[in-house]
Amino acid sequence: MNFNRQTLPRFLVNNGLFVALILMAGYFSLASPYFFNFDNFRNILVQISIMSLIAVPMTMVIVSGQIDLSIGAVVGLIGALIGALIIKASWTFWPAALLCLVAGVLIGLFNGYVSIKLKIPSFIVTLATATSFGGVGLLLTQGYPITGFDDSFAFWGQGFVGHVPVPVIFMVAVYAAGWWVMANTAFGRRVYAVGGNEEASRLSGIQVNRVKIAVMTLNSLVSSVSGILLASRMTAGISNAGDPYMLDVIAAVIIGGTNLAGGSGTILGTFLGVLFMGILRNGLVLVGVDSFVTYIVQGLVVLFAVALNTFKDIAKSGRAS
């Protein structure tokens, strides 16, 4: 199996997701006159862009054998923080944004460090810290949306460069960088190795703890970028605005074929997973399915994706032994 550079035909064989995506888009094109046009596609990209940023470092986190359940809370917290800084404390944008990014880095370092030093699984650590971060967000906003941003702030979430929405530019940049890191760098190799076999990695001289903390930090950093963009998009700092992101991001990563047990997964797969979620949601609305029903469908899709991955794993290990 060629692992680093997946050629397209191989990808089709290995990953029915791409085929499913085409079939689904084909169906929606026939079923709704509004689906297949440029504006709708751009619309889909905008809808998924801010959430999808986090799916990139989350892929790294899950490949490394960890998980981060605090991202939704971090997105909300950062939205509240930038609101508090700009509106309540009258900071200008750049210093406020910089402080938000620093906060993101510190949060990730904390999550990763606590998990390693206290030997608590990242699942539990981030489940706990998510609650606390949510609390900090509530303290900052006192439970109300912070509003009153000016138009220049709205540019990051709502503006365009030419015909391209700004959040979509962020998305493309983060995916390109994430793909490059995972496919080509020594760091990417270490992430795969640590998730594939932590003990063997340690005995091969990989500083396992550093790698694990690094991906957790990257995840929180990108979450805080996402938090700023979301606040800008809504022109409001809302402490629980990121809550749906936690499940959406993890679902997209899993649909994209990343193994929850660690060791395998690609950024390209995650991108398709994100697209799949976006198109599914958008298409179901356009063909007139009740929006509540779309949640049911989404849940089933995630379940199906996990079942498929598990099945592949069993088939693989059966061959290996």
């Binding site: 199996m1 692992f3 020594a186 076999n197 005995l203 500083q207 290996a320």
Partner: protein, 502 residues
């Protein structure tokens, strides 16, 4: 014992193959009622496979099993239990927080779905303890018991299913002398009750103490089945070792150079004591001993995985306190770990990624892995070590054991390590690949590396090493020159600690 009596167990023509190795080759094994039979053999001789087949943990490929003269099919541990076969494994299978009685009847608690009949439970357990003449409070949690008492609980658990055949896999491995005596008392009483016992142990004196007869396996074949009175420690050792693979020895003309590794009175609380040894460039030094004599902690201390508490470690003359594998690798040390699948390889990744795992910085320019350099290195080592693979992109997990081990070795060649620690390098590897790995060790030494072979396979240590250290109970028990003084028997006896055997 009347000769007409049907044997308690009669296994005939048992064969079993795993991918790459034939673990058992038409083995016959029988046991009379009330007989205690020792099952002997080196690591990988097929003992555990035979036990697993009799206890239903592994299916056999060929052969028949009869119990008390009746042909039976054993497909699962439940089948075995129904036919009166009980096993006491080396690692205990008790639930620490439950009481002794609950553990004994685990999964078969008296009572209905909703209610446990505690009285029946405790009285049943107490009866068993009386039968074993053990005074253990059956209401205590198992975690509060000594190892020896836990062993007795395991025996009681086996007996509670009316086992007539007990398999004991190294039951004394964790016991002191006194505890062993108590256990042997229990075993003798069981024998009087007509229970048959298969007793696996490496300790020869115990075998002469308790067994009625002894069966010896070697490379999957039964090579002896004798009454204990017909054998001596020396003849047992001879039979166990055999002389297949090592008729031709692997020694080179020794041209030992600089001393690359020296340990001076190295100690580690509870497992290593006063270990002094050295290894020069161009030398293969063997370290052997029974399983659990301290080889694993020694290997881990030498590679910085664990720290030693006292003594000194010198690498190429430089005194070091190793605190991590990263540091050990930087000093030129490479470890081929004992469990290659769990510790040596990332099975889900391709060969080439595994090969450069310890040398990622060396094949990277700035941040980027130089794919061409990586591929060239992979191709070179696949060719040089004759790794049988479709290509460098094949997943390490889909290689055979021998080829997997070659990938682990190649990882350190890529890294240009000059001190190589091979820890049980040929465990579970077929004969052909073993031979290649021995050659590799010789070539590495000839190329100026210091090679340390830590292995409980005495035959291989003798065949490959220039000098040998024998470990016993965390200490160096003997140092021998492989070509002058060392005989296999001597080595084995030093490891076992038996006296006057030859």
């Amino acid at each position: 014992m009347a000769p007409t009596e049907a044997p308690a167990v009669e296994m005939r023509g048992i064969s079993k193959s795993y991918p790459g190795t034939r673990a058992l080759n038409g083995v016959d094994f029988s046991l009379r009622p009330g007989e205690i039979k020792a099952l002997l053999g080196e690591n990988g001789a097929g003992k555990s496979t035979l036990i697993k087949i009799l206890s239903g943990a592994e299916p056999k490929d060929e052969g028949t099993i009869a119990i008390s003269g009746e042909s039976v099919r054993i497909h699962s541990p439940q089948d075995a239990r129904r036919h009166g076969v009980g096993v006491i494994y080396q690692e205990f299978t008790l639930v620490p927080d439950l009481t002794v009685a609950e553990n004994i009847y685990l999964g078969r608690l008296p009572g209905g779905e909703l209610k446990v009949h505690w009285k029946d439970l405790f009285s049943g357990a107490e009866d068993l303890m009386v039968r074993l003449q053990a005074c253990i409070d059956v209401r205590r949690p198992v975690s509060s018991l000594s190892l020896a008492d836990q062993q007795l609980v395991e025996i009681a658990k086996a007996l509670s299913t009316n086992a007539r055949i007990l398999i004991m896999d190294e039951p004394t491995a964790a016991l002191s002398k006194g505890e062993t005596d108590i256990l042997f008392g229990v075993i003798r009483r069981l024998k009087e009750d007509g229970v048959s016992i298969v007793f696996v142990s490496h300790r020869l004196e115990e075998i002469f103490d308790i067994a009625d007869s002894v069966a010896i396996l070697r490379d999957g074949n039964k090579v002896a089945d004798e009454p204990i009175t017909a054998v001596t420690p020396k003849s047992l050792v001879d039979l166990m070792i055999g002389r297949s693979l090592f008729d031709q020895l692997y020694h080179r003309d020794k041209a030992a150079g600089r001393e690359l590794l020296r340990l001076d009175r190295l100690g580690k609380e509870g497992c290593l004591e006063d270990i002094s040894l050295y290894c020069r460039a161009g030398e293969v030094v063997g370290i052997t001993g029974l399983v659990g004599a301290g080889q694993t902690p020694l290997a881990r201390c030498l590679f910085g995985v664990e720290r030693f508490d006292s003594g000194e470690l010198r690498v190429d003359g430089k005194s070091l306190r190793l605190h991590s594998p990263v540091q050990a690798i930087r000093e030129g040390i490479g470890l081929i770990p004992e469990d290659r699948r769990r510790q040596g390889l990332v099975l889900g990744l391709p060969i080439r990624n595994n090969l450069v795992l310890a040398a990622l910085d060396a094949v990277s320019r700035f941040l980027r892995v130089d794919a061409r350099k990586e591929e060239a290195l992979a191709a070179e080592h696949i060719r040089a070590l004759r790794i049988k693979a479709v290509g460098s992109g094949q997943r390490a997990g889909s290689l055979s054991g021998g080829n997997q081990q070659k990938v682990v070795i190649a990882k350190w060649l890529v890294n240009k390590s000059k001190i190589l620690i091979f820890h049980e390098p040929t465990r579970g590897i077929d004969v052909g690949a073993k031979e290649e790995i021995y050659r590799m060790m010789q070539d590495l030494a000839s190329g100026g590396a210091a090679v340390l072979l830590i292995s409980s396979d005495i035959q291989e240590v003798l065949g490959v090493s220039d000098r040998i250290y024998v470990m016993r109970k965390g200490r160096i028990a003997a140092e021998l020159d492989a070509r002058k003084t060392a005989k296999e028997e001597l080595l084995m006896l030093a490891a076992v600690g038996a006296q006057g055997g030859c």
